[in-house]
Subunit: 330 residues, 2 copies
DNA sequence: ATATTTTTTTAAAACGTTTACAAACCTTTC
DNA sequence: GAAAGGTTTGTAAACGTTTTAAAAAAATAT
């Protein structure tokens, strides 16, 4: 039923290995014979079986990409770029989404292995599986945050937090808010940045969001809950949000309650996704293009050159894109 | 280097075929031997090579998913659901993005074939490749719109357009706007819906957006251009947008110019993505869950049961979710 | 002419599985 | 105690490629 190199060989009156050579552009094939083979291939529409190639070559030209979630447009912009850049380089993308479930995460990694991926790009759900992933014989790289004993690439979140803190302080703000899930490097940077500038972050101004991957409406729910409990207002004049959706939802929530952005409250988000651009939200820029290119370069270098140097942690520098949601001094 | 069934066999003191039987849970293996095999597998962490399995079984358990673009959150919600549901059913996702380029689209399909996917789910860039895709020996299904000689599933866009038209008319509107790329079924339904209700759509109220997949900022640019040319205002009191982003961008654009939504203009978007939910935009709902489930059911039925009945076109019914961007009569 | 080198071709062994078939081993049963 | 039956096991072929090693053919030199 299915057409294979064997039939091509028969039709072109050569041996199978000759067909293979032609397909792979190997030297030492008579010009005329090669022509005949190509014609037959064209005529019958033969497409080589990559499962067989993978088996024989021990190379699949597949990259496993594991996302935590898709509700954040940032990850989507990332995967879009990843797909096109990988394809350009001759690799295809096998996609998994862990929904921040460490068990699913590990299963996905196992699946990648079973599928013989040449490399894996992982946005981890936490540190749960980092250790064992780093021990795998397959090149793997962690994106969007730096993790320790593994190749990783990400913005310098600490620095980003500090940068925002400094901006706020220099613009005259005295009280500060933060929207995010459990305290992370962004928050760490933010609060220590405040300290370095002689002010203190007040814990009650931390709007804690439940960690969630599937349902972004919890964000608004948690923000509303916070605002209700706080009496419909807020004890700070500027606010840093851990991503653009949070920034947007926070903005909508306080505007619904009559506060004005940026007059009453300045807001800065994170990721600089199209959401921030559309909505005019100031945001810490993620250089997606640079990130993807660097990631693929490193990963494919490991894949193709069997380099086994120490894992590296690549930190990218944050920049702030100012829009109408914040009123900052230059 | 790489560990195979052969070593497992040796270590467990059985033949390779026995190992295979154990792994696949086949009957006729001595309980004690099976136990031994499982222990060895566990101990050395053996994972069967799916490339070899694919080759032998002529079944990859991979589904090729081809998207046009990712800027529209609707497609993202779709792919997220597709990934999780496929995984639940034992299939993995190979992802391609065509960026509405018919050549890339066809290359992706060829790649799917080479990769031995069991089925393909395609959001097409147009009709360019539909014909030849429908002729492939691999089950394929087109999503989000109905296309003719191929399995397809999508909202009834005509009906959706009519529904919106009717809603607007019944709510007392007399002038109507539309935001979208080249006229499609949504617009067709919308304008014929108006006609059926005794009113006419004025061509000058069609805000034409350049077809684009990579850069959503063109949307705002085109809307601004239209508004400038129209003197900063608009000749209609209600507007239907072909997707939620367009609705959102249009809303922002007219609000920036001092018009009020919904007091001056009612807006209804399309897809009912989280964007619409967050921003309070009325929108025609896409039943993503139902769509994905129906798609997979049909596709996997074709894959697993070799059913070769005629292609079907499945039409889903639109419903309208009303939010604060429109002021409609019940 | 033949010997030598070079080019082109083929046959066959892998890659890691699954599976049809046959062999070996137990039980029963008469 | 042998025939019949059922389990369990192993051998080997196959899936569709790539690639090595060797054979064949062609080209060149002597």
């Amino acid at each position: 039923m299915k057409i294979t190199m064997k039939e091509i060989a028969k039709l072109a009156n050569v041996s199978q290995s000759t067909v293979s050579r032609v397909i792979n552009g190997n030297k030492g094939v008579n010009e005329e014979a090669a022509q005949r083979v190509l014609e037959v291939i064209e005529k019958v529409g033969f497409i080589p079986n990559k499962a067989a190639q993978t088996l024989k070559r021990s190379k699949s030209h597949i990259i496993g990409v594991l996302l935590t979630e898709t509700y954040n447009p940032y990850f989507v912009e990332l995967i879009d770029k990843l797909e096109s850049e990988s394809r350009k380089r001759g690799y295809n993308i096998l996609l998994h989404v862990s929904n921040r479930n460490p068990i699913v995460e590990w299963e996905s990694v196992q699946n990648f292995i079973a599928r013989q991926v040449d490399g894996m790009i992982i946005i981890p759900s936490g540190e749960y599986n980092i250790e064992r992933i780093s021990k795998l014989p397959i090149p793997s790289i962690v994106m969007t945050q730096n993790w320790k004993p593994i190749d990783s690439i990400g913005l310098d979140h600490i620095l980003a937090g500090k940068m925002v803190a400094e901006k706020f302080v220099l613009s005259g703000h005295k009280t500060f808010g933060f929207v995010g899930t459990a305290p992370d490097e962004k928050f760490l940077g933010f609060s220590s940045g405040l300290q370095e500038n002689g002010v203190e972050f007040a814990d009650k101004n931390y709007i804690v969001l439940q960690e969630t991957s599937t349902n972004n409406f919890l964000i608004r729910r948690d923000i509303d809950a916070y605002l209700e409990q706080a009496g419909g207002t807020v004890d700070f004049t500027c606010c840093f949000a851990a991503n653009d959706i949070m920034a947007l939802e926070f903005m909508r929530a306080i505007e619904d309650r009559g506060m004005k952005v940026p007059e009453d409250i300045s807001i800065i988000g994170f990721d600089d996704t199209y959401l921030a651009k559309i909505m005019g939200i100031s945001s810490v820029h993620q250089p997606i293009e640079e990130m993807v290119n660097t990631t693929l370069e490193l990963l494919l270098d490991r894949v193709e050159n069997e380099v086994t140097s120490e894992p590296v942690q690549i930190k990218l520098n944050p920049t702030l894109v100012e829009r109408s949601s914040s009123n900052l001094k230059k």
